[in-house]
Amino acid sequence: MTETVNNFQDWIKDQVHSKAESSFALSAELRKASLAVLNSARFPTRKDEEWRNTPLNELLTRTIGPASEAPVDLPLLEKLKQAIPNAQHLVFVNGVFDSKLSVDLATEIPAGLSVKQMSTLPSESLQRAEASINRSKLTDDNIFQHITRGLSNSGLFIELDQNIEIEQPLQILYLSSSNDSVSISHPLNIIHLGQNSRLKIVQQYASPAGVQAVTIPADTIQLDEGADLELYKIGLESESTDHISNTTVQIARSAVLKAHQYLLGSRLTRSNLEVIFDGPGGEAILRGIYLGDDSQHLDIRTYMDHANPQCRSDQHFRGIMNGQSRGVFNGMVLVRKHAQQTDAQQSNKNLLLSRDARVDTKPQLEIFADDVKCTHGATVGELDDDALFYLQSRGISQADAALMLTRAFSAEITEEIQLESLRDYIQNEITSRLDKIRVDHV
């Protein structure tokens, strides 16, 4: 038998054993554990339940090149910034924080908020940052998380003092560039909101068409008692980008997370979002859209750990798939034994615009408490013929009617975006993609 060439894996091994001098996001101690996992690593296959619907073979056979020297697409960066013109902009290029393209962390960050590069943290701050990671129970224990933890050389530690409310959003932009080879990035952020504080963060991942890239970001987020975080993730990467992200959020007593995801780009995206209710009365509102065309694979995984009573989780995700694209929604709600009076809603609706598009949806509930209110539902369907005819009967062409109905389907999610300029931006991005789909079909 011949051994399968596994370039990505070889590259990981090389990195684990690399003696090259470089700085890392996490401490040697914390990295050690992840490097050990990577050293004996076996990448998941379709036989692993957790990855059954996620095709990794193409990613695993990609050859990662040296760090890209290709210039950043500045016009693209400017365009992305328009999503929230009044934001504080923080820019990563190929996974490395770029202080020249970002606001000045020393002078421009408002009082009470601190944004620091992980690799330059004094040891006392690093310990504080890593405390969040140590508390994370990491139920979705996957190798990609360890790639970021073990190998990441860049990231931000964002801390907000208690009782501080920041209106101006933080917009974190991740751009990839590449020449002939595949560039990789694995930024690692730790975000900690103090008691009763409030923050809005928008994370945008993008690359110009044609860029070959692998993006493996990880965020660990801790919300202290009564804190409130609005978090948006927007995927606009090139058709040659594979993106696997891990976000873990710990929600203390009465803290609130609103997390939106809009997956519109990339060849493959797998987005893992894990929420752990660390205290009673917490709330997590998750919204998202995955919009795929051609042979894109867009995959959302959520894991709600109701480990405490009186918490509320409310998930609503919608998929729109065209071409031969494939969407996956896999949502798990775990209600532990003492998590009484849990309120957990989970809804996933999908619209197939072509014959060859496909969706796998799997909302799951595991309930060990007896006094709970849990619902879940999933649908996969096509455009409603009666609604199409109604619009046509008023003079609207079939193509326009289909566009209106599809946009309406997505608008029921995007209308919940509270930042007005971001809402317009996302709705426009969705519309321009739907417009293209329509043109393709005519």
Binding site: A387, F389, Q392, R394, G395, I396, S397, L405, A408
Partner: protein, 252 residues
């Protein structure tokens, strides 16, 4: 304006219209009555171009155009309008922007300039007053959560804004309270002119007190079995359909 000749239509192999003939001239109002399931809505749907109907024989011409060969949106742009018996709810599509888009498609087709937001708002405000519709319904998704009567008023509002040449009202009066009935009828009468025509499908003679028809037809088993004037409706109200049905053979 509308000329239907010996129209035979089936749905999933089941014959519904069995040789229907009808002529409508500009300025006329035709009422169509008939028992449940006789094919009234089917006729309205076939004329407006809904999919799922097979025309086996016969013809339907509108303004000299072969109606049955036209896409539904082209029929609408040519001035045909159907007020649905059961208006569809369309979540996520705003009532105002939907109607603005529809009107501008029709205007474009006629070679007229598209209306901008301000001009459109002016027009729609005026027409809303005509049907006495609550303004907040404009900001809601099309028909979503509208009461039965509100949906019917919304149909008439659309008709008033789109100003069709030929309007088919399919039981627009069903489910309306007496005030709403008067308002809807008032809307029709306001729009009525020498150059347009209405086909009003109804079960109730009382609508015809408000919208006075030039002709009344009885549809049964997919055919018009009797035509007359306003008095026929009164007679039907009194005697029902049985006396008519007995006299006609049902086609096999």
């Amino acid at each position: 304006m509308l000329s239907i000749k010996d129209l035979h239509v089936s749905v999933e192999e089941k014959p519904i219209l069995n040789g229907l003939t009808l002529d409508v001239k500009p300025g006329e109002i035709h009422a169509i009555m008939g028992p449940n399931g006789s094919g009234k809505s089917t006729l309205a749907h076939v004329l407006s171009g809904r999919a799922g109907y097979t025309v086996n024989s016969g013809s339907a011409h509108y303004k000299g155009l072969n109606l049955l060969e036209m896409a539904p949106e082209i029929r609408a742009r040519e001035g045909l309008f159907l007020a649905f018996q059961y208006p569809i709810e369309i979540p996520g599509v705003n009532n105002t922007s939907f109607l603005k888009k529809a009107l501008n498609e029709i205007r474009k087709h006629r070679g007229e300039e598209e209306l901008d937001a301000i001009d459109f708002l002016g027009l729609i405000k005026k027409q809303m007053a005509l049907v006495e519709m609550k303004e907040d319904l404009l900001r809601r998704p099309v028909n979503q959560g509208f009461s039965g009567g509100e949906k019917k008023r919304n149909e008439i509002l659309q008709m008033a804004v789109l100003n069709p040449t030929l309007a088919i009202l399919d039981e627009t009066d069903s489910g309306l309270d007496i005030d709403a009935l008067r308002i809807v009828a008032g809307g029709v009468n306001k729009l009525r002119s020498e150059s347009n025509a209405f086909v009003v499908i109804t079960h109730y003679q009382r609508l015809l007190d408000y919208i006075v028809p030039d002709f009344v037809h009885v549809l049964s088993n997919g055919r018009i079995i009797k035509s007359g004037t306003k008095e026929l409706a009164l007679e039907l109200e009194e005697r029902g359909y049985d006396w008519l049905l007995e006299k006609t053979e049902t086609p096999s």
